[in-house]
């Protein structure tokens, strides 16, 4: 017996896989592949952030801080200390998880605006440290990051590869890798949501009082989801660093944090597929509106505000509801 949740998640995963693997049919140059790869990595980040914001109802305006820490840990360990990519990603994610736990415990007691301010401060502090530790990070000028390597095998945008007889250039190979990463990120998030832990998380959002009287240690679960979402950000930051080949403290900055949260809100808080759509739309928008580049942050702010006012459920849930209503109407009309 499949319950409703399991049917939905299976459907979502299949749809996502079909889109991700059909997309190359429409991508005809490396520029689009690179854009799609960025989208997938950012989308996986916001899938993690959505666990905190959409499902547990806690805000983080500093999540780029964790993304940046992952990116820089990878950058520093692989280029200065000769670490391989996977250990750097994993150790970085664990360290960021520990930092998130230490920071999260006290600040997640706060609610509403106070929590927003505290998480904002966390992001700022991380960005400032990355800016100031010139010896390690190269400061505001940034630092180069070597290509992603596993067991001596190198994934570089400039390489060429052979997958099951298909000739792939570096951009195509990176895209496929990022697509698989996104699918895994979604699968893990779904597993978390549809579980005792996931119900406890959602109850913190639904009714914190109810959660407490049925025995949920709400403080512990808030910290837990904060850590999980920080680990998502860190791991994706690591991949992002490899893919870009060069990082600056901007990856940990305020603009990035706002971008992430806007993706969640626009796409649909609490909808995993929704936030992926949010990521796609907000990565595409600057391409379409290339003339307004200086106004990017203003634009994201405006989108955030307008979404909250006119479409509080977010893009995908609103579309799904409208489609559902129309189908009902049609079915009703014919009966």
């Amino acid at each position: 017996m499949l319950n409703r949740f399991m049917q939905m998640r299976l459907r979502d995963l299949v749809i996502l896989a079909v889109i991700l693997f059909a997309l190359p049919l429409f991508l005809n140059n490396p520029f689009y592949y690179d854009l799609a790869t960025q989208m997938a990595i950012i989308a996986a980040t916001v899938v993690g952030l959505n666990l905190l914001v959409g499902f547990a109802g806690q805000i983080s305006l500093g999540h780029a801080g964790f993304f940046g820490l992952g990116a820089y840990f990878t950058g520093i360990m692989t280029s200065n200390y000769g670490w391989s990519s996977v250990p750097a990603l994993v150790v970085g994610a664990i360290l960021v998880g520990i930092i998130a736990w230490i920071v999260g415990r006290p600040i997640l007691r706060l609610k509403g605006h106070y929590l927003s301010m505290a998480t904002l401060a966390v992001g700022f502090i991380i960005a400032i440290i990355l800016n100031n530790e010139r010896a390690l990070t190269g400061g505001p000028d940034g630092m180069p990051v070597p290509a992603f390597t596993v067991f001596g095998w190198e994934l570089s945008p400039f390489g060429s590869y052979n997958l099951l007889g298909m000739e792939l250039n570096g951009s195509e190979a990176w895209y496929l890798f990022a697509a698989v990463v996104l699918l895994v990120a979604v699968w893990l998030a779904q597993n978390l949501i549809d579980s005792p832990i996931g119900r406890a998380l959602r109850s913190v959002h639904g009714s914190e009082v109810a959660a407490r009287v049925v025995g949920v240690d709400t403080a512990r679960y808030k910290s837990l989801v904060f850590v999980v979402s920080a680990i998502y950000a860190s791991a994706m930051g690591s991949l992002y660093a490899h893919f870009q080949g060069f990082i600056t403290p901007a990856v940990a900055g305020f603009d990035f944090s706002i971008l992430f949260i806007t993706m969640v809100v626009l796409g649909g808080m609490g909808s995993t597929m929704g936030v992926i759509l949010g990521a796609v739309v907000l990565k595409l928008l600057p391409q379409v509106l290339a003339d307004f580049q200086e106004l990017e942050t203003v634009m994201f702010g405006a989108i955030l505000m307008l979404t909250m006012i006119f479409m509080p459920k977010g893009l995908l849930p609103t579309i799904q509801m409208a489609v559902g209503k129309r189908m009902k109407k049609k079915a009703g009309g014919q009966a």
Partner: protein, 252 residues
């Protein structure tokens, strides 16, 4: 043997308002113990104190002899206490059955690893949990709503759902705050049966209710509060014949 719940000299003040003042009583295991009194008498505040949501200004509450002063609501839940609310507390971001499965939170042993990779042990536990939750929803009379979103359910169904959630923890004592409020006569009759069934299973029930017929019929003992103070305490028979209660209720 001490009583299941012992309350001594309990006080709760909000600023200048004494919502509960000098309240003492005890509840034996297996009883149906009701708290009655006019609106604003302090009944909900008393429940909030007993379930650990409020800390007393003065006085003491003991659960099976243990002082609850330092215990959080979730720790009281671990000791077998569960409750429903006058202002229903349902997670509207979940389906009906998930709300009940949430009630079983403390019975589930899961860790991040088995969860993230959906290992067989987790699936087994989830299946058992879902079956138990479905059983309970049947028991309280909302078995038709298993996978309905909570936000799409009627008020009466949600009231029963909240009871199912409280029962899911296999509690030793369940606190029901005005479960009949807003229900029609048929629903109230069904509720009375349900409370009897819960009590017959050996669960101690504390009940706040305005429906006198329901309360008098079902309770082993009653506590009457008025302006935060105890007006009377005793069996339904004693309460019915108590001159203070008669005076207060019949406009003395």
């Amino acid at each position: 043997m001490s009583a299941l719940i012992e309350v001594k000299g309990l006080d709760k003040a909000f600023g200048g308002v004494h919502a509960v003042e000098g309240v003492s009583f005890s509840v034996e295991a297996g009883q149906v113990y009701s708290v009655i009194g006019p609106n604003g008498a302090g009944k909900t505040t008393l429940f909030n104190l007993i379930s650990g949501l409020y800390t007393p200004t003065k006085g003491e509450i003991r659960l099976k002899g243990e002082s609850t002063a330092k215990l959080e609501p979730n720790q009281l839940a671990e000791r077998g206490m569960c409750r429903t609310f006058q202002q229903m507390q349902i997670c509207m971001n979940m389906s009906a059955i998930e709300n009940v499965m949430l009630g079983r939170h403390l019975k589930l042993r899961s860790n991040l690893f088995t969860t993230l990779f959906r290992l067989p042990s987790l699936l087994r536990d989830e299946k058992a949990c879902r079956e138990r939750a479905a059983e309970l929803m049947e028991f309280v009379g909302c078995g038709d709503y298993l996978d309905t979103e909570a936000s799409a359910m009627s008020y009466g169904a949600l009231k029963r759902l909240e009871i199912a959630r409280a029962l899911a923890a296999d509690p030793k004592v369940i606190l029901l705050d005005e479960p009949a409020a807003g229900l029609n006569a048929v629903e109230t009759a069904a509720l009375e049966k349900l409370i009897r069934k819960i009590a017959d299973q050996g669960t101690t029930v504390m009940l706040v209710e305005h429906d006198m017929k329901l309360v008098m019929g079902i309770s082993d003992r009653l506590l009457v509060l008025n302006y935060g103070r105890v007006l009377a305490e005793g069996t339904p028979e004693e309460i019915r014949n108590n001159p203070d209660v008669i005076a207060a209720y019949l406009g003395g």
